[in-house]
């Protein structure tokens, strides 16, 4: 080994000495010919040519010892490829970086989108799992996946020998551990539920048929997430007694990770047996009228036995019709035996996959759009590499021709070129792997998903993405390695060994075409991303009307069925507010039943002006109503524009009833929102209640968002809490440290009543973010992708254009020799380089407008098909890059003495 190494070193030294001697001889000759020594040395080097290439070629003539030929051949090829890549560090860095970043960004984006949009319910064989649904009226397409409890029992009975059938009903209730009570999302399920979905326990046991018995003990199964978050993954949780709805219940198991149930989008926290739920009166239908067929609260899941799918499908309709015939449905009036008859329902079953896909159609559309954008970024990254390879290939054709002329076989050259791009691809892949890992760490987020709920976004690398990424890597090797390799080595060796031939300065048409498309793709991508920019800007500029920066919110839901009536609620609210006022750091605290942004169910009320003669108003309108404590305006930061806010004298039972209207509300009723409205009377009829009451308007408050963030379509009337009661109550605390205030809110509620659950609590920005979070994620992902694409394109464009223009130094030399001025040269270069960029821009802008027109159909928000601002902004960075990339080399070329340019380039 050592001897081989010495031999090799000796060989390299000899080769170096020999070439040095050649240079020395040549320099001597040139000096004799009249050149200065420095000039002679420079010239001699140019004449000698690509020394490293020739050294390589010399080394290749060395004999290889036969018994280690194969590995040595491979090693030699790898070594050569590495040397050549190292000799072009910028190309290598950029090609591998471009590929790596492109792959990393797209895999991450895909994983995030996948986690945000396509969360799977985690059941086994979802295609074999069916959901029963009915349409309210036969023939209508509005399917509803719920039937009444008695309907479910009858259905289950008729399918006993053909399918496993289970029912589930989602509800929410307070779950208490040793110290605190928290509102959880629960499903009350029949014993067959876990067998139907095909999910076993991660710990302990799941519910089974034996839990259906009316006298079975009260048990529950925790979700894996609840177990982890609430109980710190404590295995000793099995057998522990918790309290739900004030009743003891024993934890018997933990569901597996990834199974999120069917209760809510955010995932179910606990599953309790149906028998227990009924006994403990934890859900409305069960507790009031368990046998009422008009209360549809049971979602029926079924898994047909193998081979029985068609039988079950065929029988659904008949069974359903039989039920509707036996128990004719009537329009519910609340009074038994009255009401007009309803037509029979339509019945069907659909696989879980179909049922959820139909629900999420719009989300899926947006998701596909995003995945489309992801693919475009990869296209940009790949076309970057293609362009670079083409541009580099033109320079290398000289080297390759030399080697062909000296007898290297075409196969050998192709192998080497492919090896080079393979190494670039591997480097890109490694880079992508590392970057993706880092990005996925960053993308692990707790997301508010509306109503203050938080779900954990856990993007993981999807198998499908890895396959896709591998396919792209392979394709890049083939397209960017094999393609140019074959092209470069094609045909007979042209007799090109002289320095004058070989480096053709004229860029190939293929390179221009590819540049054009790259620019077009980036432009399109940006125009589409501009939609998202608009959304973000609108969102950022929007003022909800509530000063939510320093606000903490907690929601408590009172339950009349457990004796938590208006008086009790008021006691608790007053107690909590008193505690909060005594807490250091809380500037103001208030409560309201129903709030803006749909945090709780906000009651509706019909508001009618008494003096209907009023000037131009509608006189009677449905408003959202907020029964509030007087401090609410100060706490929420809602200014009073006329009159006065509610005060504590208004908020006592028996006080003269008063109200504050929002500006919009005042305008709708009275046609104006100024002081002239003050003192006028309106009747208020709360939703569902027959009685009306007369209240006097004492103030007008600035408008706020009402139903959702960003919506301001409805009027709002604030009344004192003593006047109305609604079970969903929000408690607000204004503090310089809203995070700490959230804790204060929680503990104040806990101290007021141990069994009362805080259903959600958090800082206002998180709580009120609502469904826009998904949009924001999507926007962020899209924007970063577009930004990356632009970045890659700019670098790619610069690399290609500057290389192409530099290579035309010789042509510029000829032009200058023929009398062109430096200015003309610069113009020539700009025309050369800007042509394809401009063409690409026009193409991309047109494509972008088309895509926007197509996207408009899938989106709720209005989209301008032609967004002039975006059209004006998008081309700027690309054009600027192209200008710089053309101008700099052209300026350099224009400075070169034409003689030198002709001789040396």
């Amino acid at each position: 080994m050592a001897r081989r190494w010495f031999r090799r070193r000796r060989f390299d030294e000899d080769l170096r000495d020999e070439l040095a001697a050649h240079l020395d001889h040549r320099v001597d000759d040139l000096v004799r010919g009249g050149l200065t020594r420095a000039e002679a040395r420079r010239r001699a080097r140019v004449e000698l040519g690509a020394v490293e290439t020739y050294k390589d070629l010399c080394r290749e003539t060395r004999p290889l010892s036969s018994w280690r030929t194969m590995p040595e051949l491979v090693l030699r090829d790898v070594w050569h490829a590495a040397r050549r890549l190292a000799a072009a560090p910028l190309f290598t860095l950029f090609a591998a970086g471009s590929l790596g970043l492109g792959l990393a960004a797209t895999t991450t984006a895909y994983a995030v989108l996948h986690a945000a949009l396509w969360t799977s319910p985690g059941v086994s064989d979802p295609d074999g799992l069916f959901v029963l649904s009915t349409s309210a009226t036969a023939g209508r397409r509005a399917w509803r996946a719920a039937v009444s409890e008695p309907d479910y029992v009858d259905l289950a009975r008729s399918w006993t020998d053909r399918a496993l059938v289970a029912a589930t009903t989602a509800f929410e209730d307070g779950l208490s551990g040793e110290s605190d009570t928290e509102e959880v999302r629960a499903e009350s399920v029949s014993g067959a539920y876990f067998a139907v979905v095909g999910v076993g326990p991660a710990l302990g046991r799941v519910l089974s048929a034996s839990d259906d018995a009316p006298d079975s003990p009260a048990v529950l199964v925790l979700s894996h997430r609840a177990w982890r978050v609430r109980h710190g993954s404590d295995p000793a949780i099995i057998g522990r007694t918790l309290r739900m709805g004030g009743q003891p219940v024993v934890v018997v198991g933990v569901a597996p990770e990834g199974f999120s149930g069917f209760g809510s989008q955010a995932g179910t926290d606990v599953w309790v047996s149906r028998a227990i739920a009924t006994r403990h009166k934890v859900w409305t239908a069960a507790r009031s009228r368990p046998l009422d067929r008009s209360i549809a609260q049971a979602t029926v899941l079924l898994r047909p036995f193998p081979g029985a799918i068609h039988e079950v499908e065929a029988s659904v309709h008949g069974i359903g019709e039989g039920l509707d015939a036996e128990y004719p449905r009537v329009r519910s009036t609340g009074v038994a035996g009255s009401g007009a008859p309803l037509p029979p329902r339509d019945w069907r079953i659909a696989t879980l996959t179909d049922a959820t896909t139909a629900d999420a159609g719009r989300v899926a559309a947006v998701g596909y759009l995003a995945v489309g954008l992801v693919m475009l970024v990869l296209v940009v990254a790949c076309s970057n590499i293609a362009n670079l390879t083409l541009a580099r290939g033109a320079t290398r054709s000289h080297e390759i021709t030399v080697r062909r002329a000296l007898g290297a076989s075409r196969g050998r050259l192709v192998r080497e070129l492919c090896l080079e791009s393979g190494m670039v691809a591997i480097a890109g892949g490694v880079l992508a792997f590392i970057a993706t890992g880092l990005l996925l760490q960053v993308a692990r987020l707790d997301l508010p998903i509306g109503n203050g709920r938080v779900t954990t976004l856990e993007p993981v690398l999807q198998g499908s993405v890895l396959v896709m990424a591998a396919a792209f890597l392979l394709a890049s090797v083939i397209v960017f390695g094999l393609g140019p390799a074959l092209r470069l080595t094609r045909g007979d060796v042209r007799p090109v060994l002289g320095p004058s031939v070989g480096v053709s300065g004229v860029p190939s048409r293929r390179l221009w075409r590819s540049t054009r498309w790259q620019v077009a793709t980036t432009t399109t991508l940006f125009l589409v991303a501009a939609i998202m920019v608009r959304v973000i800007v609108v969102e950022a500029r929007h003022d909800s009307g509530i000063d939510d920066d320093k606000l903490a919110v907690a929601v408590v839901v009172f339950d009349r069925a457990r004796g938590q009536d208006a008086a009790y609620a008021r006691r608790v609210v007053d107690d909590v507010l008193r505690r909060l006022q005594q807490t250091a750091g809380i500037e103001s605290a208030s409560a309201s039943m129903g709030v803006p942004f749909g945090l709780t169910i906000t009651p509706m009320a019909t508001v009618t002006a008494i003096d209907a003669a009023a000037d131009g108003g509608q006189a009677s309108e449905r408003f959202h109503m907020m029964p509030s404590t007087p401090e609410v305006f100060r706490t929420l930061g809602v200014p009073i524009v006329a009159g006065r806010p509610l005060d504590s004298a208004d908020d006592i039972t028996g006080a003269s009833p008063v109200a504050v209207l929002s500006e919009l509300g005042a305008r709708e009723i009275f046609g104006r929102a100024d002081a002239s409205v003050l003192g006028r009377g309106v009747t208020v009829q709360a939703g569902g209640e027959p009685s009306t009451r007369v209240v006097r308007i004492v103030g007008i408050a600035r408008d706020t968002d009402v139903q959702n963030a960003l919506s301001r379509r409805s009027g709002l009337i604030y009344v004192p809490m003593s006047l109305e009661f609604s079970p969903g109550t929000a408690i607000f605390a204004r503090s310089q440290d809203p995070g700490a205030a959230v804790g204060a809110l929680r503990s104040a509620v806990r101290e007021a009543d141990r069994d009362l659950g805080v259903s959600t609590a958090g800082t206002a920005p998180v709580m009120l973010a609502g469904g826009y979070v998904l949009l924001r994620i999507l926007s962020t992902v899209t924007l970063s992708l577009a930004g990356l694409a632009l970045f890659l394109s700019m670098i790619g464009l610069y690399g290609v254009l500057s290389q192409v223009i530099s290579r035309q130094t010789r042509e510029m030399g000829i032009r200058m020799a023929l009398g062109a001025t430096a200015n003309q040269i610069r113009r020539f270069a700009l025309r050369q380089g800007l042509g394809p960029v401009l063409a690409g821009l026009v193409l991309g802008l047109a494509l972008g407008v088309l895509v926007r027109a197509a996207v408009r159909f899938g989106m709720r928000a209005p989209i301008d098909v032609v967004d002039w601002a975006a059209l004006a902004v998008v081309p700027v960075p690309l054009l600027a890059t192209a200008l710089v990339a053309c101008y700099l080399p052209a300026r350099r070329a224009a400075r070169v003495n034409p003689n030198v340019a002709l001789r040396e380039f």
Partner: protein, 111 residues
């Protein structure tokens, strides 16, 4: 120079080198000068391209090498034709002449 410097038909560089060395041992640069002489500077060769060809000839045993001192007192590696190199030159020259004659006849034939 009616048509400019001629390119090189693949494989012919080695033949030319053998010819240049047949006039006596020479170092790399000297081979180059001799080639320019032999071709009346009508053949453009990138100078570096010479060396891989020389190394290949050495590998085939057609030339021998040894380090020596050049005419202007520089250490240089000298190439010398071996017996088999001489034989190869003769064979190749015959082949070449035959090919050229055939090609010339064919191309000059009356149309």
């Amino acid at each position: 120079m009616a048509s400019g410097p001629a390119g090189l038909v693949p494989g012919t560089l080695e033949l030319l080198i053998l010819k240049a060395l047949s006039l006596g041992p020479q170092h790399g640069y000297g081979v180059l000068l001799r080639l320019e002489q032999l071709t009346d500077q009508d053949l453009l060769i990138e100078q570096g391209a010479l060396y891989p060809a020389l190394y290949r000839l050495e590998r085939q045993g057609l030339v021998d090498t040894e380090w020596g001192i050049s005419e202007n007192n520089r250490r240089a590696k000298f190439y010398r034709l071996t017996a088999s190199g001489r034989r190869r030159l003769r064979d190749e020259r015959n082949d070449w002449n035959r090919v050229v004659a055939v090609m010339a006849r064919a191309l000059d034939a009356k149309e």
